[in-house]
């Protein structure tokens, strides 16, 4: 059964049909790539799935329920975590605090108990800090836990966003260009980390990425959109040679040697 299923989703901004009739299913435990040229509607699809936008038509079923139109915070609470293409970390807070922000479900203590610093509050706080540290360790950021997040290098900020998303204990993780701004060494590490999240934490991952070395390497299924419409879906091998994909990326007349790998 699909963990996430989009059925004929439309998103329209004024006269712009940003997403038109897109349908796909993401199997539980898979790593699913969403690619397409700039402006194809990939990030819009992420925003529709996470509730930033409400789709005009269509259904978005997550774990069997339609989540289209729910608020972002509600969708996040149900188990959909995301990162952002244009990094959105909490810059003045420390790395550890950034991750802890996403830990509401671990922090049941009320505002009054925070003010009175009750035992229950301190127990929750300790559990939260411990969990944050574990996640930072997975992403290789444990040493930076006390640093101000805004001072981190680009690649570390992207990994911090992943750690923060994991704090939600999600079932589904949406990564929006996680390899952007990473060097090839960092991108290789990222590949391993994404696999680790799936294999060890049982996460389902959807990846929007322009770095084909990453996409072709980790994704099992790739869905290609262009101008808001689906143009292909298949395994990396199929997508690499798919004529419509090559046309969308390289133009119609490209003969051969299209190097997507």
């Amino acid at each position: 059964m699909s963990l996430l299923e989009l059925r004929a989703v439309d998103k329209i901004f004024g006269g712009l049909h940003a997403v038109r009739g897109v349908s796909f299913g993401v199997e539980k435990g898979s790593i699913f790539g969403l690619i397409g040229p700039n402006g194809a509607g990939k990030t819009t699809l992420f925003n529709v799935i996470t509730g930033v936008y409400t789709p005009e038509h269509g259904e978005i079923r997550f774990a069997g329920e339609n989540i289209a139109g729910l608020k972002p915070a509600v969708i996040a609470e149900r188990g959909v975590a995301r990162t952002f293409q244009n990094i959105r970390i909490f810059r003045t807070m420390t790395v550890a605090e950034n991750v802890m922000v996403a830990g509401h479900h671990l922090h049941k203590a009320s505002i009054a108990s925070a003010v009175l610093r009750t035992r229950a509050y301190e127990r929750d706080e300790t559990a939260l800090a411990k969990r944050a540290h574990e996640l930072l360790e997975i992403l290789g950021l444990a040493e930076l836990a006390g640093e101000v997040a805004g001072s981190l290098p680009y690649g570390s900020q992207r990994r911090l966003e992943i750690a923060r998303g994991l704090m939600l204990s999600p079932q589904l993780l949406l990564l929006d260009e996680p390899a952007a701004g990473m060097n090839s060494q960092e991108a290789r590490t990222l590949n391993e980390q994404i696999r680790f999240l799936r294999d060890q934490l049982g996460l389902t991952v959807i990846l929007v990425e322009h770095n084909m070395a990453v996409v072709m390497n980790v994704c099992e299924t790739i869905h290609v959109v262009d101008h808001g419409e689906t143009i292909a879906q298949g395994t990396p091998a199929e997508i690499k040679t798919h004529p419509r994909v090559l046309a969308a990326y390289l133009g119609e007349e490209t003969p051969e040697g299209a190097d997507l790998a």
Binding site: I89, T92, M93, H105, V115, A129, G146
Partner: protein, 340 residues
């Protein structure tokens, strides 16, 4: 055991404030004492406003309105409570303390509820709506009091007694309330709630994507901030022996914003410094007469050029004395904070 220690600490703090009160009364003239009281009230105003403007990043520019609601509320309730409480307990320090604190809490409640009413519609939205709505609220409240005949209209409210409101406000109560409010705000800021509020300031979209109930938290912080201004208003009313609509003009809101910006937006200790600064600097320059406000404005401009982030920025005073890098992962401190 923990509870006992906390009660002991609270008692010690209250005794220290009492000792300070005696010292201030012995050492200073009435004039200086009044400045000290004003500084204490300013500290409460600034710490409360900083919670919403500094920590949460939602700009209120009409906090004088909430101060007014608290001032009129505390004055009115204080006057109405005096007769039944005195009838039950007789006159005395205890009865006065009871009347005064109930009146202050009533003022805080009125101000907090006004905060909810103002905040609920305007904080649903992102952006600067709160600034516009609070600006309007501050003016509407002042004009309402200006026309409320049962509260003395433009002349102000002085109670039923011709000698004015009883002057309950003294050094002890101002500073006991200031310490309590600082302790509550501190514990709130350095908690999961505080982290969420800061996250809203830093990036509201990301905070929402991390399951933060942004609207609920913003409204809560705003209501707490409004209630705090209400306490300050109540203390102010019972210091003045009366409240006038004139006391809560737009300039008062601006004064509060100056306090937190000078001290450093988002810093509690900054707000404390800023509150004291505004009370003291204006008085120190009183001899300059009409040039006073010119010099005050110049002083503010200089501060903003030299330290645009305020004296402390977003840091706290006690962080400056700490090691530069706290050992990661920073586990939450198990030390209970005083008071609360």
């Amino acid at each position: 055991m923990r509870a006992l220690i906390r009660i002991a600490i609270t008692g010690a703090v209250l005794l220290a404030i009492l000792a300070l009160q005696l010292a201030v009364q012995a050492a200073f003239t009435e004039y200086v004492q009044r400045i000290v009281l004003l500084a204490g009230i300013n500290v409460i105003l600034a710490v409360g406003l900083n919670l919403i403007n500094g920590t949460t990043g939602q700009f209120s520019i009409g906090h004088a309105g909430f101060m007014a609601v608290g001032a009129y509320g505390a004055a009115f309730v204080g006057v109405k409570l005096a007769t039944p409480v005195h009838a039950a307990l007789g006159p005395g320090v205890l009865a006065d303390a009871l009347i005064f604190n109930l009146a202050l809490l009533a003022g805080a409640l009125f101000a907090g509820v006004s905060g909810l009413i103002v905040g609920m519609p305007s904080l649903r939205l992102r952006g600067d709506y709160l600034a516009v709505v609070t600006l309007g609220f501050g003016e509407i409240i002042r004009i309402l009091f200006n026309n409320a005949t049962f509260l003395g209209s433009a002349t102000g409210y002085f109670g039923d007694d011709p000698s004015g409101l009883p002057a309950y406000t003294n050094f002890f109560w101002v500073f006991a309330w200031a310490v309590a409010i600082i302790a509550v705000t501190h514990n709130l800021t350095f908690s999961q709630t505080g982290r969420s509020l800061t996250a809203i300031r830093e990036d509201e979209i990301a905070a929402e994507a991390m399951a933060t109930p942004t609207t609920r938290l913003k409204v809560t912080a705003f209501a707490i901030s409004a209630a705090t201004a209400g306490i300050a208003g109540g203390l102010f009313a019972h210091m003045q022996a009366g409240v006038r609509p004139e006391d809560f003009r737009f300039e008062k809101s601006i004064d509060m914003i100056v306090m937190i910006i000078v001290g450093g937006l988002g810093s509690i200790s900054g707000a404390i410094l800023g509150g004291i600064f505004v009370a003291v600097s204006l008085e120190l320059m009183r001899d300059l007469q009409q040039y006073r406000l010119v010099l005050y404005a110049l002083l503010l401009i200089v501060i903003m050029i030299v330290r645009p982030e305020g004296v402390l920025g977003t840091r706290e005073l006690h962080h400056l004395f700490r090691r530069k890098k706290p050992a990661p992962p920073s586990p939450p401190s198990a030390t209970p904070t005083e008071g609360a």
